[in-house]
Symmetry: C2
Subunit: 185 residues, 2 copies
């Protein structure tokens, strides 16, 4: 009997090179398209969840976040990482409370996307958050975040016209637009 | 004389934990918002460049890419990583040729965004590519990529309606829409 060779893109082994409280950095040996073996280095991460708050008066909230890696502030929707077993909606709710300072009673799932498909297995989930009550921010020592309330049209402009855009928030806007268009139908 | 403490978000040191042909994985010691020291683990990456081809008949090209980390195929615009010193436009042109099999004579810069602001310092640049000539794909052993030509409206739907979206391509669509709206004015 001969064993058939592993299929392309099958994992042969995994080494966790670094593990920290935010993610794991791994190297897999895997089968490439042509059957040869290759190394794949990547971030292993359960996922992330973001919230787009929408108030009855048509305003939303953006956070202005000091981003260490990019050396600048970015305008963003609130977002944060998941741990294994987390419920996406609960994570979106927590991040909205901690980063923006608002608690929502009503969540609607907008969709998901892979923000960094080549180097991370993270899937990012976004929710529309409504029926909002102010509870105040609760930031970690690593976070410098300001929350700003503004009309949705102004938020869209701010997200798109900043010198460096935040890809996750821009993608989330598209998910929101799809939802709002379907609701109008 | 007393030395003033380092400003929040100043880097204190950098350790390159892993270096490979695609990126570096680093750990910085840095000053957190409240003045305490923290660790920041991240992907260090010169950047990436993508191209949105647009033909005179209103069609574009998407690539269907087998994504090892996500265990599925994604519909995407052609994109690839930069090395230090690379010209973004040249990288976009190369990726369009290698992944999609088309050479463009005319490029227009659409904008940039940070696809994964929390864990990577990568900045992603996107270009509109026009005046296209077919040259044929040229794939690496690690790549399984099909190129498909379709109307821009159909490409938009395919990017947004797939089970898992590609955040970078969705963000690129928004940059394209902004450019097309400005050109119509």
């Amino acid at each position: 009997m001969t064993r058939s060779p592993p299929a392309p893109f099958a994992r042969l082994s995994r080494d966790v090179l670094v593990e920290n409280r935010w993610h794991r950095y791994c190297r897999d040996r895997y089968v490439q398209r042509d059957g040869s073996e290759g190394d794949y280095y990547y971030i292993d991460m359960p996922g992330s969840c973001g919230a787009i708050p929408l108030f009855d008066d048509g305003t939303t909230l953006l956070v202005k976040v000091k981003r260490y890696l990019l050396g600048c502030e970015l305008w963003e929707f609130p977002i944060g990482g998941m741990q294994i077993g987390d419920d996406p909606r609960a994570v979106a709710a927590r991040e909205l409370e901690e980063e923006a300072g608002w608690r929502a009673r009503d969540f609607h799932y907008l969709g998901k996307f892979a923000p960094y498909k080549g180097v991370s297995n993270e899937v990012c989930h976004f929710f529309l958050a409504q029926e909002l009550v102010e509870v105040g921010q609760s930031l970690e020592a690593s976070e410098a975040i300001e929350a700003h309330r503004l009309q949705l049209a102004a938020a869209r402009e701010r997200l798109l016209e900043q010198p460096l855009g935040d890809g996750q928030s821009i993608s989330a806007l598209v998910l929101l637009d799809r939802f709002l268009a379907q609701r109008r139908c």
